[in-house]
Amino acid sequence: MPSDVPTTINIKKELLRQKTAELPELSELDAVRHFTELSRRNFGVDTNFYPLGSCTMKYNPKVCERIASYPGFTHLHPLLPQLGMGGMLTQGALQVLYETDSLLREITGMAGFTMQPMAGAHGELTGIMIMAAYHRDKGNKKTTVLVPDSAHGTNPASAAIAGYKVVSIPSNEKGVMDIKALKQAVNSETAGIMLTCPNTIGLFEPDIKEICALIHSVDGLTYYDGANLNAIVGKARPGDFGFDIVHLNLHKTFATPHGGGGPGAGPVGVKEKLLDYLPVSIVVKRNDGTYALEYDRPKSIGYIAPFYGNFAVILRAYVYILMLGKEGLKRVAENAVLNANYIRVKLKKYYSLPYNNLCKHECVFSVSEKMLQNGVHAIDIAKALMDRGFHPPTVYFPAIVKEAMMIEPTETESKETLDAFIETMMEIAKQAETEPEKLKSAPTTTPVSRPDEVAAAKNLNIACL
């Protein structure tokens, strides 16, 4: 684009870069072709069934994308509310934040939310910072956070980064928390517990109320990791279970796209007694019905994001909740759980099912003894699925199940798709017995096959310079 102003000042040479940055020099068409070609080397929810356990890869409604691209939202500078006029320049956006907060309160049974955390793990860190602020404020000397051994790795990592020592609580033979071990671990040093419910095996923790009471008895706080909320949304609420802090993954339960690994959003909700510790700022509604940002929060943990969170992600989730409404959200949990149990029951004859209970949104299989004897591992089943047009389940997690295959179909998949997947899994199970070597050489239809990850870490090549 030609300049319409003269170059009036030449920045002195010492402050300029000496060599132009080596960026690609492509025509627009060549760039578009390059990226279109790359996109074709990916599986996405829109192209393939994607039962990646614990990730809730449901359909991402197109209307949410459309609305997130309205110029009235995309062109909005985040500093506008700070230019005076009490947020009157951004009333529409503030209303979106305020109403999403209200809806999430009712969905979870919490008293208030911060929309700022930019991912689930970021929500965890925020939640633990709130926990720390509460204990500091009360003068409690707390040093440890309890985390079950089946938890996502982000839980212990978040607690450690916030300055706590992590104590792992084992699961029992039923795949749920060992309450006896918990009782032994709880003491006056316990700052709180982080729990996913249903847990990563897909099982509802039967002792959830007792667990919460136990932690509260030492003035600890209970943290609900909302990664698996899709299983119970509209049916049961973490706030009613006795949880004090909750994070939600809007990119899971509330259908915002995963983007190849972000951006997501991880709003955090708290009970009444923790409201003062929520990050600065929060959106409030004035008596005249307008919205404002509240900055004067002396007990707050402070700023954890530059502004109000990943607004365009929150906006998509808001649209999703408005469209589904009360009845729609209940149907989400029902169908997510139905689809998971359908797969569980239909496949249990063909794969080992270490915890054969009613599951919630996901079920965790393992390869059978016979398959192992034939040298077939979970990774081989995963690779074989790719050749047959399916994204594999999560494999080798949770670690408490050996050779784990964690399948989460979500509610947006049809019986037809599930049946095709089940049949394929049956066929692979058969091949594991008859032609195991074929599974070991899968996949054969993908652009690459079994890249050498050891070599990648050893002969590190992470940029073309």
Binding site: H75, G153, L465
Partner: protein
Amino acid sequence: MPFISNTPQQQQQMLGEIGLTMDGLFADIPTELMCKSFNLPAGLSEQQVRNCLAELAGKNSTDLICFLGGGFYDHFIPAAVYSIISRSEFYTSYTPYQPEISQGTLQAIYEYQSIICRLTDMEAANASLYDGGTAMYEAMMMALRITGRNKVIIDDSVNPIYRVMIHSYTRNLKIELEQTHNEDGLANRRQILEKIDDKTAAVIVQNPNFFGCIDDFTDIANAAHEKGTLLIVSCYPISLGILKTPGSMGADIVTGEGQSLGMPMSFGGPYLGFMATKMKYVRKMPGRIVGETKDRFGRRAYVLTLQAREQHIRRDKATSNICSNEALCALTAFVYLSLLGKEGLKQTAQLCADKASYAYQRLTAIPGVRPHFKAKWVFNEFVFDLPKEAADVIAKLIEKGFAAGFPLSRYYKGMENSMLICVTEKRTKQEIGMLAEALESIL
């Protein structure tokens, strides 16, 4: 019901086949724990929800001519950026744990890492972090791990939004955070050099800094390195089209906000935190990293690498709790830079600098308007003083159709009459002239 595939009949059929009922699916949840309340509104149709949200979008003032920056910028975005990142093979996929069916995302991240290295003159970049502020915090934590020290020096010419974030994150940790006060708009050498000692893990500075002033930190890098201290530089990627690179100044870790690379402002996010470092520190770097390797047939392939640093393996011993990156935003940045190309980025940066210096001259020619700092070199932002309170002037300019700038009193004591103004390549000579006239008329 929206977005649920199976009809009630199919659901019943499935339940029958597995010998369960709909209520039975939730029999493991004690009755006393079922929802005590679930008062949500009834669902809306697509048409209703689009009308409703169009109305809300209309309540936002997006028609103001934008001279507002502060680290978040109104740059032009080529149409092809949106077109490419809207391919659902990209945006409906997840973290590329299974490389065979994620080569698109993986190669794009590898290429993104390469381009961040080339822009900053560094050797190793990660797959991205949440935003510029969390990237700066992660860089600080990385410096603590590398040096085994716990003191950090940060100059107040670093974006105050990031400084308050770092303050929040470090409250529960044993970190000594020392702030220096800018000297006439540039990082305060005297104070920084005085404070660097053998307990100092890092010095954090920014270029161009929050006031828009351009600096060269080579001297600080040298002084820091003498004491075994690392230099962390936050930078504005568009400016690297023309400005001296942090790598050539001797920076050890470079971070920044990538929003300017093709992402709309979208009221605060999603944005992109980028991070690059020297190869010798790569194993201490947080976040996802993609590496090139070969597959079993010798074909070039891309994988997530150095995963032993990460939370899903190391749990509480991980380098960071971060699980995802901002993959789609990293893709956006890479697409944007590919479309602009070598010359395009240089031109865009030069246009920003030219328009800002034109605006600088035009505005400071108004009686009563004076540049705040003597520092001569600015990129696309600068600070000037008004004869009255900046916040009031800005409020009046809103009525005239301008988001004219940012009042600095919010973060800097004694700067009640100062405002920060930003001029990107999108602003025209005519718009700058209109702003000057509007400002003159209200002073």
